[in-house]
């Protein structure tokens, strides 16, 4: 007999994703991803000055403020065919990289590590043995017996108090938890240390963006950072040096801790390289522009259909014509009126019906690329780059594969990357690439300033006729695109197609599942009433619904409830 399990909410940060699965013979037989909140923020933008749009869009979400600010100014620049000075490109790139590094660290340690790490095993660990193990896989200097002992003491104190606090909702002692006590302690210690390094990444965002959350330094046509090597208040060599010191520490944490931990955990759960595949169409846009016109990039983009990696089609630019022409949003199963529309003519007219898995069941629209659902995020980024022989992607992907083999004797083939662990590994690979690029772009900025170029801004000129633009950013969770129509210097239409809309999309008119839904099918569940396995796969996408949907639902008091159908 089938059993229906509803998980609501699933994100541990703001957001209101609901997952429904049907379980038969201890495996998922059907799945629905839905967002319980209505989205209509874009309507606020109509009639406003396009130069102000980024100030509003960066309030879409409190976690990813910068990405929406950046996509917004890029959309206006694309519409105006406005170039951006080199300094501005480098400063923007550094902000985007620092934000992404922060986000990836937080995602792995704060939001998903505890799907794999069993806190209740930690009291049984031996800090000395943990140190020995840690030293065998990483040169990280904080892998000391003292740090491990201190972390263990914290868990012991929580356990002794009888109040599990932050750990109250974990599925501790679940049969799908399999790390040894020492590995659990290792990961948990890094969970504590991660807090310091994600903060340093945010400090870089604040130093360049003048504050965080909500950076203040953007402007259509560039940035508003004054560069003056002789002024204490402007971007000068002291400040660049502060950024360098902070980035060096973050880069070391990414390379010596995060990347190593993901590979180690992956090596212990090899079966998860075979679970959680789902939609094998992938999409990523190029990012980190290296020139004013945005004609060359440090990160490649493209798309893959049906898992055919050899047939990857690259995108030349971040607003490639193929990308511009191929996106539409279907609302057959979403609480909106209307037919599939291109974002420039997109509508946001609600039609709430209540949850009905056969009809409408989500506030998220279903974005499609040439009519097909696409998976976005680090896995798409890595596969698209790997297929094109992008050297940095190949370097860290190869290193990840050899790390997993060294720790667990698991031979990872490219095909195994279409999986739950593939997404985690891809995120660690992407973060390692970005870490290296952070140092590169800081050097590019420093060198350019040293040449005497202090330009940060080009003045926008608005034509009187109607113009359209798309601003993209390959954000931590994947392809983000803001679509703008401008007439008479005012916003006529605005739509944001965000990464979690692609991944959390409901079915479309043809009945094709979105990536979350498809990835859950056939997942085995050891204890259906404690659907840890569902959480693992959904968390591997790094769900964050705050920008996919907005508003508010007072329900969801339980993490999971099960009922027999």
């Amino acid at each position: 007999m089938a059993k229906r399990i509803t998980i609501d909410p699933i994100t541990r940060i703001e957001g209101h994703l609901r997952i429904d699965v049907e379980v038969e013979n201890n495996a998922v037989s059907n799945a629905w991803a839905s967002c319980t909140m209505w989205r209509g923020i874009e309507k606020i933008l109509r009639g406003r000055d396009p130069r102000d749009a980024w100030l509003f869009t960066q309030r879409f979400c409190g976690v990813c403020t910068t990405v929406h600010a950046m996509a917004s100014v890029r959309s206006v620049e694309d519409a105006l065919k406005l170039e951006v000075p080199l300094n501005a490109q480098y400063i923007r790139n550094l902000i985007l990289i620092a934000h992404a590094l922060h986000d990836h660290i937080v995602h792995f340690y704060q939001l998903s590590a505890l799907d794999w790490v069993d806190i209740l095993q930690i009291p049984k660990a031996d800090p000395a043995a943990t140190q020995k193990l840690a030293e065998s896989i990483s040169p990280w200097t904080r892998n000391s017996r003292n740090e491990f002992k201190a972390a263990q003491d914290r868990v012991n104190a929580v356990a002794a108090s009888g109040q599990l606090g932050i750990f109250m909702n974990g599925y501790w002692g679940h049969p799908a938890m399999r790390l040894s006590p020492d590995v659990n302690l290792l990961a948990f210690t890094h969970y504590i240390q991660a807090l310091e390094y994600q903060r340093k990444a945010l400090q870089v965002v604040a130093l360049l963006g003048s504050k965080t959350p909500h950076i203040q330094n953007l402007t259509v046509g560039g940035v508003a950072n004054a560069i003056d090597l002789d002024s204490a208040n402007a971007l000068n060599m002291d400040r660049l040096e502060m950024i360098r010191v902070l980035l060096d520490e973050v880069v070391q944490f990414i390379h010596q801790v995060y990347f190593v931990d993901v590979c180690a955990v992956a090596a212990m759960y090899p079966e998860w390289f075979k679970i959680g595949s789902g939609v094998r169409n992938y999409l990523a846009v190029p990012d980190l522009p290296l020139d004013s016109a945005g004609s060359s990039y440090d990160l490649p983009g493209g798309y893959i259909m049906d898992g055919n990696i050899a047939g990857t089609r690259p995108f030349k630019t971040a607003s490639d014509k193929v990308f511009r022409d191929s996106v539409s949003e279907d609302v057959t199963h979403a609480y909106y009126q209307g037919k599939p529309l291109h974002p420039w003519s997109g509508e946001t007219e609600p039609q709430f019906t209540g949850w009905d898995g056969e009809q409408k069941y989500s506030w998220v629209k279903a974005p499609r690329f040439n009519g097909q659902p696409m998976q976005v995020g680090p896995l798409a980024q890595i596969l698209v780059g790997f297929a094109q022989g992008h050297p940095l992607t190949v370097k860290y992907a190869t290193q990840a594969i050899s790390n997993v083999q060294a720790v667990g004797g698991v031979r990872v083939t490219p095909d195994m990357l279409h999986s739950t662990l593939g997404r985690h590994a891809a995120r660690a690979i992407r973060a390692s690439m970005l870490a290296e690029l952070a140092q590169k772009h800081l050097q590019l900025l420093t060198d350019n300033i040293a040449k005497g170029d202090y330009t940060v801004h080009n003045q926008p000129v608005f034509p009187s006729h109607e113009v359209e633009g798309v601003g993209t950013h390959e954000a931590p969770r994947g392809t983000l695109s803001h679509w703008i129509v401008i007439k008479d210097e005012k916003i006529k239409n605005y739509q944001a197609v965000v990464p979690s809309t692609w991944n959390a999309s409901p079915r479309d008119a043809s009945g094709a599942h979105g990536p979350y839904e498809a990835s859950l099918l056939h997942t085995p569940l050891a204890r259906p009433e404690e659907p840890l396995e569902v959480l693992r796969t959904v968390h591997s996408f790094d769900p964050c619904m705050a920008c996919a949907c907005h508003a508010f639902d007072p329900s969801g008091k339980q993490i999971a409830k099960a009922k027999v159908l």
Partner: protein
């Protein structure tokens, strides 16, 4: 010197949810504070809030709350009371962050000694850049609560002789038909 944070939480695009950030602007406009007092618009920070509240002596957070109380009612919640809630139970759009944040900060040993949540019962979370009438009427009572908490902790503040102009975001640009929070110009 005590380390103090007064932080406004909320999404300024969702009607009454913007009340926290808006109150922060009002406070900055009207008052000067002791050294060591940070007054910040935090937006909807989720777990990033851990950084903001860690190692502080006194934290005062201002947020909209979804309760049965009449819109505009000012409700006070203390640290212990918030921490007793289950991490995933929401009492407003951001409380998962607040509860999770406090519990995490406690685990990491960096939780603030003293924390007060000044909650304002919301009327509407519909997309909009302005506050409802009842919530607008709660602004002064909420400020009284915030200042009383500073008094209880012997933290000095001073009414400015002339209010400071608000940041551009908070001032009606008059360029559009749907103005931002217009009443802030009269603060």
């Amino acid at each position: 010197m005590k380390k103090v944070l007064i932080g406004g939480i909320g999404n300024v695009l969702l009607g009454d949810d913007g009340v926290g950030p808006y109150l922060v602007q009002l406070l900055l406009s009207r008052y000067e504070f002791d050294d060591g007092v940070e007054v910040l618009d935090l937006g909807t920070p989720a777990l990033d809030l851990i950084d903001q509240i860690s190692r502080k002596d006194v934290v005062i957070l201002i947020d909209s709350v979804d309760t049965d109380a009449a819109p505009g009612t000012v409700l006070l919640y203390r640290k212990d009371e918030i921490m007793q809630r289950r991490p995933s139970v929401r009492m407003d759009p951001h409380s998962p962050a607040l509860v999770d944040t406090l519990l995490s900060a406690e685990l990491f040993g960096v939780a603030p000694v003293n924390l007060l949540l000044v909650g304002i019962a919301a009327e509407s979370y519909e997309p909009s850049c302005s506050l409802s009438k009842p919530v607008e009427a709660s602004l002064d009572p909420a400020i009284v609560e915030i200042l009383s908490e500073l008094d209880r902790n012997s933290i000095a503040y001073r009414l400015r002789e002339y209010p400071v102009a608000l940041e551009a975001w908070w001032v009606d640009s008059r360029r559009t038909e749907s103005p931002r929070i217009v009443h802030c110009t009269t603060a």
